[in-house]
């Protein structure tokens, strides 16, 4: 009986610990795997890269929206903050930043029709204690881990709209502050 109770106690403790460890580790592992795949595909850090038009043959992540054009920048804050500059346009668009554990820590409109949208959205991404005194009038978003990911979404249901979205990538910046 004592042996059974010992085993049962060990089972329950191990179950709870293993369950919680795995659940909490999964988002970071998934994000890290996606970053790794992008890096293997040649995407450098601190560089806006337009994704190809979403199709069944071109799906970098689950549930991509085929009506949107995406541009991605892999961010590494280990050497300092990173500045993002992204122009607005006259259709739906957004700039978002995701932490290493997949939280959407920032989202800003790029739709010039929406009140308060600047012509160029400026954002600085930094770790919690990094110096951002040179950020000027840019918004600042703080994250806890060096790896982050920035994403531009623009409405592009047609090839023409996709090409217009792609033309804005050279005007966008993702670079060390």
């Amino acid at each position: 009986m004592k042996g059974f109770l010992t085993g049962l106690t060990a089972f329950l403790v191990a179950l709870v610990l293993a369950h919680l460890l795995v659940v909490n580790a999964l988002p970071g592992k998934i994000m890290s795997k996606v970053r790794g795949r992008m890096a293997e595909a040649g995407l450098p850090v601190h560089h806006w890269q337009m994704s190809g038009r979403v199709s069944p043959q071109n799906q970098a992540v689950v549930r991509p929206a085929p009506d949107l054009a995406y541009a991605i920048c892999l961010i590494d804050l280990s050497k300092g903050p990173v500045e993002l500059d992204v122009p607005a346009w006259d259709q739906y668009g957004s700039l978002s930043v995701f932490s290493a554990r997949t939280d959407n820590v920032y989202a800003g409109s790029l739709d010039a029709r929406v009140a308060g949208t600047p012509d160029v959205r400026r954002l600085v991404v930094a770790l919690e204690k990094q110096d951002v005194s040179t950020a000027g009038d840019a918004e600042v978003v703080r994250v806890k881990q060096p790896e982050a990911l920035a994403l531009i979404r623009r409405l592009a249901p047609t090839q023409e709209a996709y090409d217009a979205a792609a033309a804005l990538v050279p005007e966008s910046r993702c670079k060390p502050l």
Binding site: K2, G3, F4, T6, G7, L8, T9, A10, F11, L12, V13, A14, L15, V16, L17, A18, H19, L20, L21, V22, V23, N24, L26, P27, I30, M31, V34, V54, S55, P56, Q57, Q59, V61, V62, R63, P64, A65, P66, D67, Y92, S94, S96, F98, S99, R101, T102, D103, N104, V105, A107, S109, D111, V114, L149, L151, L155, P157
Partner: protein, 198 residues
Amino acid sequence: MKLVPLLIGGILGIGAGVASALFTTGMIGSGVRLSGGVDVNGWQSDWTIGSAAANPWTRARIARHGLLALTKEEAVYFTKATDDEGKPLSEGCIYRVSGGDMPALWWSVTLYNAESYLPSNDDKALSYDMTKAEAAGSPDAWSFTISPTAPAEGGWVSSKAAGAFDLTLRLYKPSADLIADPEATLPAPAIARVSCGG
């Protein structure tokens, strides 16, 4: 000798813990929703998606099935895997999806297979969105067909090679009313099964 039951219990517990974590977070299957759930006529969402306040199970489930999803102030996502009679959506059936004006700046309905990817067909009919409804002249009363082959007329989303699928309704820049009370505000699209087989 308590070491043996300790080791056996520990090893079995680790296995059970890992398996339960994979099932509850949707690494295997669709996962479970523990909080923040929204259900509007079977269109399901989670208001904590993307948020740092999401519980660990929601965060992991969204990482698997909806990585890079935005928080609700920017976009909301509803998913439905059954028709209006509660039967699972399937490539073997034809459906008519209909709806009206949506409380958002832009919306779309997209079809995904059971692995959460676009189905492997080259029909170039992956989604229906507000721009198509406006082009059809009826943004307040739109409809489209879901079928493995194109209908004679009207909007179409292809279910060819989709198998068992679901639909994701995206609403970008949702209205404040939708965020505050989705059950009362969202005019949930209808999914009527027209026929199956043949």
